[in-house]
């Protein structure tokens, strides 16, 4: 890892001041915020990131919270995954997020990894992670996965890059209609988490979010789901012990009796962004969560899928997960 200067600001204000130099595009990569570091340090060890300065956020107490404010759940960027996977409020009212947090990596990584880091983590594509492969994501000319080994890559929303977004929390939070709060030199802004992510075909292909280099993700919030809402996160890993999703399903269903009144269906592991499927959501509303409905929703969700040479299996796999998730909430 390249040597760097470690700054330890004690407030968001100080952190933003340090990060402000990143506004200059030449400096954008020279300074980076550090939260749990469970992704960033691996990137630095692989020389995929070589910042001159790290802004260590861990000393900023005001970013470490998970609270319920009049039915609105607010989670500070530094809340750890371990905290989320043990939180009773989430367990009782937002299973989708509770389960997603638990599904991540290993107990050691969950001890330290934060919600902010998880939402901002970089792709796991084998080509991206290999220093020698100067792929599109690293400023090269080609997405090697497109014609190379692509078992783990995108079947939806791909092109020109075919990474899949590795976050488990993102699909879960988007399914909860979460809002993300970010701040930078030009002031704070708030947006639906869904809009925080961008396809590789939009803007700079090297980035996965709309966050500017001088900006910090400060918190995520969502309304506690209405009574009668059930949710789940179903993650399928190639290896159960510590792995990323081959495909995952974040599902929130609001019921009136046994009829679905509200539906959010977001897929993970299959697209460069958390992949919300509105057509499938629409098909669920007004129906019972029975097999027929579930299968129809699954078909709609994968209707636009275009597999690469080695990942067509993700289509039946994801469909099955969708059906299972829906059935499990019936």
């Amino acid at each position: 890892m390249k040597a760097f200067i470690l700054s330890n600001p004690k407030s968001v204000k100080d952190a933003l001041q340090l990060l402000a130099v990143a506004r200059d595009s030449k400096q954008a990569k020279a300074i980076q915020p550090l939260a749990g570091g469970q992704d960033l340090l691996t990137e630095m060890k692989e020389h995929l990131a070589e910042p001159d300065r790290l802004v260590n956020l861990k000393g900023i107490a005001e970013l470490d919270y998970l609270r319920n404010l009049d039915g609105k759940v607010q989670i500070g960027a530094l809340a750890t995954l371990a905290r989320m996977e043990k939180n009773n409020l989430l367990n009782e009212h937002a299973r989708v997020l509770f389960e997603a947090a638990h599904s991540i990596a290993s107990p050691q990584i969950r001890s330290v990894g934060t919600i902010g880091g998880n939402l901002n983590q970089r792709p796991r594509c084998l080509y991206y992670r290999l220093e020698e492969a100067n792929c599109l994501k690293k400023g090269g000319k080609e997405c090697f996965a497109y014609s190379g080994m692509n078992r783990y890559n995108a079947i939806l929303g791909g092109g020109p890059s075919y990474i899949v977004h590795p976050s488990d929390l993102a699909p879960a939070l988007i399914a909860l209609d979460a809002t993300v709060f970010i701040a930078g030199r030009t002031g704070p802004r708030e947006m639906p988490l869904e809009s925080y992510y961008k396809l590789p075909s939009v803007g700079d292909v090297r980035t996965e979010t709309v966050r500017e280099p001088d900006e910090l993700l400060l918190s995520v919030s969502f309304q506690l789901p209405a009574p009668g809402t059930r949710s789940t996160y179903l993650k399928f890993k190639e290896r159960e012990s510590y792995d990323f999703a081959l495909a995952s399903v974040a599902l929130v269903l609001g019921f009136d009796g046994d009829v679905i009144r509200h539906a959010r269906l977001v897929l993970g592991g299959v697209a460069p962004v958390p992949w919300r499927v509105r057509a499938a959501e629409a098909a669920l509303v007004g129906q019972k969560a029975d097999t027929q409905t579930a299968e129809k929703a699954a078909e709609l969700a994968l209707a636009g899928a275009v597999p690469l040479s080695g990942n067509a299996f993700k289509i039946p796999l994801t469909k099955s997960l969708i059906v299972r998730a829906i059935r499990s909430l019936a």
């Binding site: 570091g37 107990p107 001890s111």
Partner: protein, 200 residues
Amino acid sequence: MRTLSLKVNGDTVQAAAPSHWTLLEVLRYKLGLTGSKQGCDKGDCGACTVLVDGRPVLACLTLAGAVEEREVTTIEGLMPLHVKSGGDGPDPVQAAFDRCGALQCGFCQPGMMLSARALLNKNPCPTRAEIREALSGNLCRCTGYTQIFEAVELAVAESIGVAPAPRSWEAQRMDPSEAQAAAKRAAAHLAERRKQEGRE
């Protein structure tokens, strides 16, 4: 280069290290604490697991400068800390790993035992499923894990003072009905204890 002040195994120690050094590097290359192993140096194998404020953490993915005010426990500290807190000899987890043949080459074991210790600290009476889950970030290439699970279960049984279920290799030498009965008794004891703890 900066002089770090770290709390390791109950002692405050000073180490001069550049800011990009990980806790693992400081432990292994500055403090001579080589019990924490460098297996992959990238967070994948778990051999460097240490406890920071009681939580299992990958020392290879922790900047030393970021844990200055925290309590770091390495494998070298496990027995002394156990003795300090009134125990006798090695930590029960260590003693059980000893006796269950839960190790071969031993390279993954320090991390494995600290993950087990972290589990037992917050859940003194875990189920097999919880043990497997707690160890899922520690890879072992030699043993096949089974005797490791059994070692953690032995540590649990002994710490709550009940007879453990017969281990897989013992069960074979017993009369099947007797082995089953012993396993049932052990399970009942554990279930009762978990109930007392409000876990079930």
